[in-house]
C-alpha cells in the first residue's frame, strides 16, 4: 500500500500568468455536486460548443470526484422564444419543444445564453425580448435548477469585408444590460462575456462565433468568472533536505528518491486545462498555465524532466535552482482524451435528441418510417458508455517524475 500525503500549501508569492479577465476581485465559487445535471441552452454559440467541448471539459475536470452529467441543447438561430425549434410548427411550438427538452432532462444547473440573435432588432426589439425572456425564465426557474446566464460576447471587429459591428454592439449592449438586470432582480448568476472577455487576439473568424481556439480561451475565462480559478500547480523540492511542497499536487511520500536521479511519484488534484487546438494564436496557447517543478540546492548543470519515462521539459539550474515548466505530458494528454470523449458523447447525444429524418421517425410521416424510431433510444446506452469513460478520465492518476542530469561530453 502506498501512503500518500497531500501537502497543503498556499502560495505566498505572486504567480505570473496571463489572465483572461479584466475584472477585479474573486467571484463566488461555483460548486457542482454529485448527480448534478447541467444543461446548456442557447443558439449557435452553445450549439458549436458541443463539438469543441472546452467549456464542458473545464467544468468536468474541475470536479473530478463529482458525478455530473452535461447536456447541450444549443440550437442555431434560437431566441428566447425558441424560434429555431419550431420546425414544421408555429413559433409557440418552438417554445414548447424547448420546454419539453429542458424539463425532460430534469436539470439542476442551466447555463443559458440568449440575446445575440434578438439584438439585431435593435432598441425597437427590446420590449419583445424582455417579454420572451421573462416567459423563458418562468419555465426555467420552475425546474428548480440553478440558472447561470452567459451573456453574449461582443461582436468582434475583424475589418472589411466583414461588417463594422459598432452599431450592432451598441444594440447588443442594451440586451446584455437587460439580461444583467433581469438576472440580478431574480437572483441568478450572471457571467458577462460581453464585458469581461479580454482577449488580445480575435476569438472568432466571423465576428460572432468562436473558433476552436476561441472556445478554449472562453472556457478558461468563463471558469475563472465562475470562481473556479486554481492556484498554479507546482512542486517544490529542496534537493538538500528533500523537503517537498506541492500545492494542488499529491506527492506519494515514500516515492521520493534522491539518487541516482531525483525521482518521485505525483498526482495532480485536477487535470490541467486542455491544450490549445493546433495553429492557435500564440496568445491563446500561452493562456495555458503550465505545471511547474522547482528544485533548489541542486548542482549546476543541464537537466531533463521525464514523466513515466517520457521527456517533457529541459532546464538549466542557476545558483542551485532548477525550474521546469511542463506544457505537455500524460496529464495534458489525458485532458485532451477527456475532451475528445466529451465531444464524442455530445455527438451521440445529438443523434439521440435531434436525430436526422425526424419527419419520418417522429413527425407527420412516422406512419411510414416510424418503425425505425426504435433505433433512437439505442443511443442511450452508447451515451452512458461514454459517461463511464468520462468518469474515469476526469480523475488524475499518479505519474513517475524523474529529474536527471544531461551529460555534456564535450565540456
Amino acid at each position: 500500500m502506498i501512503q500518500r500525503i497531500l501537502v497543503p500549501f498556499l502560495i505566498s508569492f505572486a504567480v505570473p500568468f496571463s489572465s483572461a479577465l479584466a475584472t477585479e476581485g474573486e467571484p463566488a465559487k461555483l460548486a457542482l455536486a454529485d448527480n448534478d445535471r447541467v444543461v446548456f441552452l442557447g443558439g449557435t454559440f452553445i450549439e458549436r460548443e458541443q463539438a469543441e467541448g472546452f467549456l464542458e471539459t473545464r467544468l468536468t475536470q474541475r470536479f473530478p470526484e463529482k458525478s455530473v452529467i452535461f447536456r447541450n441543447l444549443g440550437w442555431s438561430g434560437d431566441t428566447v422564444f425558441g424560434l429555431a425549434r419550431a420546425r414544421f410548427g408555429k413559433q409557440e411550438d418552438g417554445f414548447a419543444h424547448l420546454r419539453e427538452h429542458v424539463e425532460g432532462l430534469k436539470p439542476t444547473v442551466i447555463v443559458v445564453s440568449y440575446g445575440q440573435n434578438e439584438s439585431f432588432a435593435g432598441e425597437a426589439g427590446l420590449a419583445d425580448f424582455r417579454r420572451g425572456l421573462m416567459n423563458l425564465l418562468q419555465v426555467l426557474e420552475k425546474t428548480g435548477a440553478k440558472l447561470i446566464f452567459l451573456a453574449p460576447m461582443r461582436h468582434e471587429s475583424l475589418g472589411a469585408p466583414l461588417p463594422d459591428p459598432a452599431k450592432h454592439n451598441a444594440d447588443l449592449y442594451l440586451y446584455v444590460d437587460l439580461l444583467e438586470k433581469a438576472a440580478s432582480e431574480r437572483g441568478h448568476r450572471f457571467i458577462n462575456l460581453h464585458r469581461d472577455l479580454n482577449s488580445p487576439v480575435p476569438l472568432t473568424d466571423n465576428g460572432m462565433h468562436p473558433t476552436p481556439a476561441g472556445y478554449r480561451f472562453i472556457a478558461a475565462a468563463a471558469a475563472d468568472l465562475l470562481g473556479l480559478r486554481e492556484a498554479d500547480p507546482r512542486i517544490e523540492i529542496d534537493h538538500a533536505t528533500m523537503a517537498v511542497k506541492s500545492p494542488g499536487i499529491e506527492v506519494t511520500r515514500d516515492s521520493v528518491r534522491k539518487s541516482p536521479d531525483l525521482e518521485f511519484e505525483a498526482r495532480l488534484a485536477t487535470l490541467p486545462p486542455a491544450p490549445a487546438p493546433p495553429k492557435s494564436p500564440a496568445a491563446i496557447a500561452a493562456a495555458i498555465r503550465p505545471t511547474r517543478v522547482g528544485v533548489t540546492n541542486i548542482d549546476d548543470g543541464s537537466y531533463r524532466l521525464t514523466i513515466d519515462g517520457r521527456e517533457v521539459a529541459r532546464s538549466k539550474s542557476r545558483d542551485g535552482r532548477l525550474e521546469f515548466s511542463i506544457d505537455r505530458g500524460p496529464d495534458i494528454d489525458q485532458t485532451e482524451a477527456l475532451r475528445r470523449v466529451i465531444v464524442a458523447k455530445n455527438q451521440l447525444y445529438f443523434h439521440r435528441w435531434r436525430p436526422q429524418n425526424e419527419t419520418y421517425l417522429f413527425g407527420f410521416r412516422k406512419h411510414e418510417q416510424g418503425q425505425n424510431a426504435r433505433e433512437i433510444p439505442m443511443f442511450d446506452p452508447l451515451v452512458a458508455a461514454k459517461e463511464t469513460e468520462i468518469a474515469k478520465l476526469r480523475l488524475p492518476v499518479p505519474h513517475r517524475y524523474r529529474v536527471s542530469r544531461i551529460e555534456e561530453p564535450n565540456k
Binding site: G43, N206, T359, E368, Q369, E375
Partner: protein, 1149 residues
C-alpha cells in the same frame, strides 16, 4: 490462401449468381442487379453520335451525391454510405473524394480521400484554397494547406441547417458567375443561420445565395419540393430542376415563390408541366459538342433511369422549355443518374448513385436491397469529335486567365474566373482594366466579354460603376438584364441606383424590365415603387406580372402609407396604383381603390380589378358600391357576373353583406344571362331575401335553365333556412326533376335537418342510378350527425356499386371518417369490404404473378376504367387529377411490392407534399385536403375530388397533418387478375419502352361531348359548326393513354340521326404565350373533322397555324359507324424550325 478445390467451387457459385442476376435482375424483388459496370454500360441506349465510358467506379467510389470540378480539372465528389440514417454504434465516416485523370485518357486514375468522418455530406464545391462541404447541419470549409491532397484545416462557415429529412439537407452547392455560392435545401428543412448581418431563416425548400468573403446570406428563391439542380445560362439567368416536382425546368425569377413555398400567396410554375422529376442540371456547350447541343439543358430522370435533354428558349420576359430525346436511357434498375457536369475536356460527366432502391420515406431505412457500396461516374463524348485540351489555368498568368474569359469553352470561362477569384482584387483589378481597354471595339463578342469583366469585378468585390453603366445600355438585351442584376449587388455602393434603373424599367426587352422591377423591390422607397409600377405602361406577360406583383408587395411598407397621405405619384395612370393595391390584398387598400375608381381615369379592366379587390376586402359600405355597379343596367353581363361572384365570396368568406337596399338584387333573377342569375340566386339566399322564394322555385322548375342556375337557386333557397325551406327542398327532392336537381336539394336539406336530409338522400341514392352524387355524399361526410343518419337510412337499401365506392372514397378521406357510414355503403353497394382479406400469402402470390403474368396493356385499361377511379386523382404527364402524385415515372422509382402495398394500404408510404391537412372550422365541419397555398387570409386545399376549397383562416379552429388522402379499399372490387395487370402497368411507367411518356408535346387532357337528351337532334338541326360554341353542351374530361392516343372505345357516342352517322366529338386547347406559327400533327387525319377556335381546318396530317397569344380550342369529330372504325385519335405539337411561337397543350383534370 485458395486451394485448388475451392476455385471451381467459387467460380461455379459466381457463375450461378451471374445467371441468376442477369435473368432476374429486373424480375426478382429479392435480387439486385449484377453490379458489373460493363453490364450496366451495355444497358445504355445512347443518343445518336454519342458514346459512354466509365470514368470512375467502385470500389474507389461509393454513392456519389454531388460532384464538381476544380480549376485543375480534378473532380470532387461528395459521397455517403451512411445515408439514409446513421445507425446506433455506427461511426459516421462519409467522404469527400477527389478523382483525377492524371494522364488525360478519360479515366480517373487517382482517388484521394480529401476528408472522411463526415455525416451524410450532400454537397461539395471546391474553391478558396479547399472546398465547401455541406455536412448535415453545417457548411464547412475544408482546406489542404500542406498540399498532400488531404484536408488539414476545418472551419464551420455556417451552421443551423435543418436535417428533418436526409435527402433534403443542404445540397447543390454551386458558384455563380457572380462570385456567390448558391446552395439549395428541400421542402422539409427548417434552417436558422446566424450571420454577422443577422439571422437568416428559410422554412421549406429554396435556394440560398451566399458570399463567403462577406458572409452575406439571403434567400434567392423559395419553394419547389426537391431543388436538386441549379445552373445558369451564359447570361447568368438561373434555372432549377426538382427531384419531386413535376414541371421539368424551372426558370428562377429572383425572389419568386414556387410550389410548396411556405406562406406563398401566389407561385410561379415550371416550364414543362407534366414532366417527370429531375435531379442535377447542367447547361452544356463548347467545341466538343455538336452545334445543336450548344446551350442545351442536361438533367437526370433518376426514377426512369434516363439522362434527359431540354431546349430552353425565350418566351417574353421568361422562357419556354421543350424536352428532346434522351442522352441516355436504360432499363438497368440501379442506374441512378443524379448529377451532371461538363468536364475540362468538353465531355459530359454523369454521377450515377447506383441503387436499386431510392428514397427513404417510402422504403425502409434498413431495407436490405438498399445499396451502400457502389457508385459510378460516366463520361459521355460525341463520337468522332475531338475533346478539348484541358487548360492549365492554375499555372496561367493573370492576363492569360483574363483571355480565357473570352474562351469558346464554357468550362474555361468559369474556372478562369474561379482562379481569378482566388488571386484576389489587388492582383486582378489592374490587369482587368488593361484587358477591358484592349478588347477591340468591333469584336463580335465584345459585350459578352465586358459582361465577364463585370462579373469578375463582382467576384473580387470591387465596384466598377463605369463598366456597369456601359453594360446597362448594351445592345444585347441579355447583357443589359445581367448588368441590372449586378446593379442589385451594388445598389448600396453606387450613386443613384434608382436613376440607373429608370431607363431599364422602360427597356425594349421585357426581361430587362423584369430584372429592373425586381431590383427596385430591394430598394425601399416610394420612388422605387412608382418607377417599378411604370412597367405597366408597356406590354406585360405572366413573368413580368409576377415580378411586379412581388415588388409591389416587397415595397408595401413604403408606398402604401404614401398613398393614404396623398404622396404617391401614379404618373396620371391610376391603373398602376390599382395593380399595387391589388397585390397587397389587405383592407387598408380599399379606400385608395375607391378613390382611384372615383377619379374616373381607370380603364375598364383596371376598374373591374379594383372593384373585385374592394369586394374581397371592404366592409358593408364598400360592398354597397359593388352592388350599385352590379345592378346598373348599363354594365355588360360578363362584368356583372364578376362583381356578383365577388359579393358571393365576401359573404362566404367574411360574412359581409352590403349596406343599403338589398332588394335591388331581385331584378337580376330575371336576367337572361345564366351566370348572373346563378350568382344572384346565391346572394338572395345569403342575404335572406325571402320574398324571392317563388322566383327561385320557378328557376328550379324551369326546363330551359342550366344545371348551374338550378343548383344555385337550390343553394339560395336552402340558405333561407327553417321549416319553409326544408319543405320546399323536400318537394324538389321528391319531384320528377333531373337527378342532379333532386340530389342537390337533398344535399341542401342535410344542412338544415340532417335526419330528414339523410332519409331523402338514401331514397335517391337507391332509386336513381344515374347522376353525380359527389356533393350529396360530401354533405354527409363533413357532418357526423348527418353521416350517422345516412348510415341508418341506407339499412336494407341497395345502391349501385360504383356509387358506393364513390361514397366510400369521399367519406373515408373526410376529416373524421365515419366508420358506420362506410360499412353501410359497403353493404348497400354489395362490396363486401374485401379490404380485410389481405393475407401475406395472397400478397406474395400476387407479387409473383405480376412479373410472370401481368399484362401492362390490360393494366392500363384497368387504370383508365372510370370505376377504378385512378385518373380521378392521379395524372400521367400532367393529364388527370392533381390530388395524388403524377405517376408517369412511378415504375422507375418504385419496386413492385411498394406499388402493391400502396394500393392495398395507401397510408403506408406517402409521397412528399401529398400528406393531407385536416382542418376543423368554426362551423363544425372538418375538411381534408392537400394544401395548395396559404395567404391573403385563406387556406386553399385540394380535396379528394380535386376541388379547390378556400377556407378563411379566421374560421379555422384546429389543423393537423393527416396521412394519405387516398382511401383504402379502392381496389376491393378488382379481381386478382386485374390487380396483377394494374400493378404490372404501374411498374412499367417511366421505364424505357411503351410506357414512357414521349418527349413530343401531346394532347393528353381532352374533353368529350356527352350524349344528352335531344343532342343528336340539335346537331342535326344546327350543324356541328354552330353547335361548337353552344355553352349549354356538356363535356366530360377524358385522358390520353401513356402512348398519347385517345382510344375511341373510351368515348361517348352521339347516335346517328336521319342518315347522319353516329359520332364522337372531343376537344382540347392550346395555350400560346409567345404568338407565332404553330405546327400540329394529327392522326388519323383522313377520318377527322377539325376545328380550331370554331373554324374548320383542313385535316392534313400536319398543318401550321398563326396563333395569337392566349388560349385556342381544337376540336375533332369523327364517324363511329364507319366500316373501318377509328381506333384512336392523336394530336401533337411539332417543332417548327424558325418559329418563335411558344405553345403548351392543356393539362390537368
Amino acid at each position: 490462401m485458395i486451394n485448388s478445390r475451392t476455385i471451381p467451387a467459387l467460380a461455379l457459385l459466381w457463375a450461378g449468381l451471374c445467371i441468376h442476376s442477369n435473368a432476374l435482375a429486373q424480375r426478382d424483388l429479392k435480387s439486385i442487379p449484377d453490379p458489373d459496370p460493363e453490364i450496366e454500360r451495355k444497358s445504355f441506349q445512347v443518343a445518336d453520335g454519342f458514346e459512354v465510358e466509365l470514368f470512375a467506379g467502385d470500389p474507389l467510389l461509393a454513392k456519389p451525391i454531388q460532384m464538381n470540378f476544380d480549376a485543375r480539372g480534378r473532380l470532387w465528389v461528395a459521397s455517403s454510405e451512411v445515408y439514409p440514417q446513421i445507425e446506433p454504434g455506427q461511426v459516421a465516416n462519409d467522404k469527400i473524394l477527389i478523382l483525377e485523370d492524371v494522364d488525360g485518357d478519360g479515366k480517373a486514375d487517382k482517388t484521394t480521400v480529401f476528408q472522411d468522418g463526415l455525416l451524410i455530406p450532400t454537397g461539395v464545391e471546391p474553391g478558396d484554397g479547399g472546398a465547401y462541404v455541406a455536412n448535415s447541419t453545417e457548411l464547412l470549409q475544408l482546406k489542404d494547406t500542406d498540399g498532400d491532397g488531404k484536408a488539414d484545416e476545418r472551419r464551420v462557415v455556417l451552421s443551423g441547417f435543418g436535417t428533418e429529412d436526409t435527402h433534403h439537407i443542404l445540397h447543390t452547392l454551386r458558384w455563380g458567375w457572380d462570385g456567390n455560392l448558391y446552395m439549395n435545401q428541400s421542402i422539409y428543412i427548417h434552417s436558422h443561420i446566424e450571420t454577422p448581418h443577422g439571422v437568416r431563416r428559410l422554412n421549406g425548400g429554396g435556394i440560398w445565395r451566399f458570399r463567403p468573403d462577406t458572409l452575406e446570406l439571403d434567400v434567392f428563391m423559395r419553394g419547389l419540393v426537391n431543388t436538386w439542380g441549379h445552373h445558369y445560362d451564359r447570361f447568368g439567368q438561373s434555372f432549377a430542376t426538382d427531384g419531386a416536382g413535376g414541371e421539368g425546368i424551372n426558370y428562377v425569377l429572383p425572389g419568386a415563390y414556387y410550389v410548396t413555398a411556405v406562406d406563398a400567396v401566389r407561385v410561379l410554375r415550371g416550364l414543362n408541366p407534366g414532366s417527370p422529376k429531375h435531379c442535377g442540371l447542367e447547361i452544356v456547350g463548347g467545341s466538343h459538342l455538336p452545334e445543336n447541343w450548344q446551350g442545351n439543358f442536361i438533367t437526370n430522370d433518376f426514377r426512369g433511369n434516363r439522362v434527359c435533354r431540354f431546349i430552353v428558349s425565350e418566351d417574353g420576359a421568361g422562357f419556354a422549355s421543350r424536352e428532346q430525346a434522351e442522352l441516355i436511357k436504360s432499363r438497368h434498375q440501379a442506374f441512378r443518374p443524379i448529377d451532371v457536369k461538363l468536364g475540362p475536356d468538353g465531355a459530359i460527366y454523369i454521377a450515377d448513385w447506383y441503387n436499386p432502391i431510392i428514397q427513404h420515406g417510402e422504403v425502409d431505412f434498413r431495407d436490405p436491397r438498399r445499396d451502400h457500396t457502389h457508385g459510378r461516374i460516366w463520361r459521355v463524348t460525341a463520337k468522332g469529335r475531338k475533346t478539348t485540351t484541358r487548360p492549365n489555368l492554375v499555372g496561367m498568368s493573370t492576363e492569360g486567365l483574363l483571355d480565357q474569359l473570352r474562351s469558346p469553352e464554357p468550362w474555361n470561362r468559369h474556372f478562369a474566373k474561379r482562379v481569378l477569384a482566388e488571386r484576389g482584387a489587388t492582383e486582378v483589378i489592374p490587369a482587368l482594366a488593361a484587358w477591358v481597354a484592349a478588347i477591340p471595339p468591333n469584336a463580335s463578342d465584345r459585350e459578352q466579354a465586358l459582361l465577364e469583366a463585370l462579373w469578375t469585378h463582382q467576384t473580387v468585390d470591387v465596384v466598377e460603376r463605369d463598366l456597369l453603366v456601359r453594360l446597362l445600355t448594351a445592345s444585347d438585351p441579355n447583357v443589359r438584364a445581367a448588368a441590372v442584376r449586378v446593379l442589385r449587388a451594388w445598389k448600396n455602393r453606387v450613386d443613384d441606383p434608382i436613376g440607373l434603373l429608370a431607363a431599364r424599367v422602360a427597356d425594349d426587352h421585357p426581361r430587362v424590365r423584369l430584372e429592373a422591377v425586381r431590383v427596385l423591390g430591394e430598394i425601399p422607397s416610394v420612388r422605387s415603387a412608382e418607377l417599378a409600377l411604370s412597367a405597366l405602361d408597356r406590354p406585360m406577360d405572366q413573368f413580368l406580372d409576377y415580378a411586379l406583383w412581388l415588388t409591389a408587395r416587397d415595397l408595401q411598407a413604403t408606398w402604401l402609407p404614401a398613398v393614404s397621405e396623398g404622396r404617391f405619384d401614379d404618373g396620371g395612370k391610376p391603373a398602376r396604383l390599382v395593380f399595387a393595391l391589388d397585390a397587397v390584398g389587405s383592407p387598408e387598400v380599399v379606400k385608395p381603390l375607391l378613390r382611384a375608381i372615383e377619379s374616373g381615369a381607370l380603364t375598364r379592366e383596371a376598374r373591374d380589378r379594383a372593384l373585385v379587390s374592394i369586394a374581397s376586402l371592404g366592409g358593408p359600405d364598400d360592398l354597397r358600391l359593388i352592388l350599385d355597379q352590379a345592378v346598373d343596367g348599363r354594365i355588360d353581363a360578363a362584368r356583372r357576373s364578376v362583381l356578383l361572384q365577388a359579393l358571393v365570396r365576401a359573404h362566404e368568406q367574411r360574412k359581409i353583406v352590403p349596406s343599403g337596399d338589398l332588394a335591388r338584387l331581385s331584378s337580376l333573377l330575371h336576367s337572361t344571362d345564366g351566370p348572373t342569375v346563378a350568382a344572384a340566386a346565391r346572394l338572395a339566399g345569403a342575404w335572406k331575401l325571402t320574398n324571392v322564394r317563388e322566383r327561385l322555385l320557378d328557376l328550379i322548375r324551369a326546363d330551359s335553365g342550366s344545371d348551374v342556375v338550378r343548383q344555385s337557386a337550390i343553394a339560395g333557397l336552402a340558405a333561407f333556412g327553417g321549416a319553409d325551406a326544408l319543405r320546399d327542398l323536400a318537394t324538389i327532392a321528391g319531384s320528377d326533376a333531373p337527378a342532379s336537381t333532386r340530389f342537390a336539394a337533398a344535399a341542401r336539406m342535410v344542412e338544415i335537418a340532417p335526419e330528414a336530409g339523410a332519409a331523402a338522400a338514401a331514397g335517391l341514392l337507391a332509386q336513381i342510378p344515374e347522376g353525380d352524387a359527389t356533393e350529396l355524399f360530401a354533405a354527409h361526410a363533413e357532418r357526423t350527425a348527418a353521416g350517422n343518419a345516412l348510415a341508418k337510412a341506407l339499412a336494407g337499401k341497395t345502391i349501385p356499386a360504383d356509387r358506393a365506392k364513390l361514397g366510400i372514397r369521399i367519406v373515408s378521406t373526410a376529416g373524421r371518417p365515419n366508420a358506420g357510414l362506410i360499412e353501410a355503403l359497403n353493404r348497400a353497394g354489395g362490396l363486401g369490404g374485401k379490404g380485410s382479406e389481405w393475407t401475406p400469402a395472397r400478397r406474395e402470390a400476387l407479387l409473383a404473378a405480376v412479373l410472370a403474368k401481368g399484362d401492362p396493356a390490360r393494366g392500363e385499361q384497368v387504370f383508365r376504367r372510370k370505376s377504378s377511379q385512378c385518373l380521378q386523382c392521379h395524372a400521367i404527364a400532367g393529364a388527370g387529377g392533381q390530388v395524388g402524385p403524377g405517376l408517369e415515372s412511378i415504375g422507375g422509382s418504385a419496386q413492385i411490392d411498394y406499388l402493391l402495398d400502396s394500393l392495398i394500404e395507401p397510408n403506408k408510404q406517402v409521397k412528399e407534399n401529398y400528406h393531407a391537412l385536416v382542418v376543423a372550422t368554426d362551423d363544425g365541419k372538418v375538411r381534408t385536403g392537400i394544401k395548395i397555398r396559404e395567404g391573403n387570409g385563406e387556406l386553399v386545399l385540394r380535396d379528394s375530388e380535386d376541388r379547390e376549397i378556400a377556407i378563411p383562416l379566421a374560421s379555422i379552429e384546429e389543423r393537423k397533418m393527416g396521412a394519405s388522402i387516398m382511401p383504402a379499399g379502392l381496389i376491393d372490387t378488382l379481381t386478382d387478375a386485374e390487380l396483377t395487370d394494374l400493378v404490372r402497368f404501374l411498374s412499367e411507367l417511366g421505364k424505357v419502352g411503351s410506357y414512357s411518356v414521349s418527349k413530343t408535346p401531346t394532347a393528353r387532357r381532352w374533353e368529350a361531348l356527352l350524349d344528352e337528351r335531344e343532342l343528336a337532334r340539335r346537331i342535326h338541326g344546327n350543324g356541328m359548326d354552330a353547335m361548337l360554341g353552344d355553352t349549354s353542351l356538356r363535356w366530360s374530361p377524358v385522358y390520353a393513354t401513356v402512348a398519347g392516343t385517345l382510344p375511341a372505345s373510351d368515348l361517348p357516342v352521339i347516335p346517328g340521326l336521319f342518315g347522319i352517322p353516329a359520332r364522337s366529338v372531343v376537344r382540347t386547347s392550346v395555350e400560346v404565350s409567345t404568338p407565332g406559327r404553330v405546327r400540329f400533327a394529327i392522326e388519323p387525319a383522313s377520318e377527322l373533322t377539325v376545328w380550331v377556335d370554331g373554324n374548320r381546318v383542313d385535316p392534313r396530317p400536319t398543318f401550321d397555324l398563326d396563333l395569337e397569344r392566349g388560349s385556342h380550342s381544337i376540336a375533332f369529330s369523327f364517324n363511329r359507324d364507319a366500316s373501318k372504325p377509328v381506333e384512336a385519335v392523336k394530336l401533337e405539337l411539332v417543332e417548327l424550325p424558325g418559329s418563335s411561337a411558344k405553345a403548351q397543350l392543356l393539362l390537368g383534370k
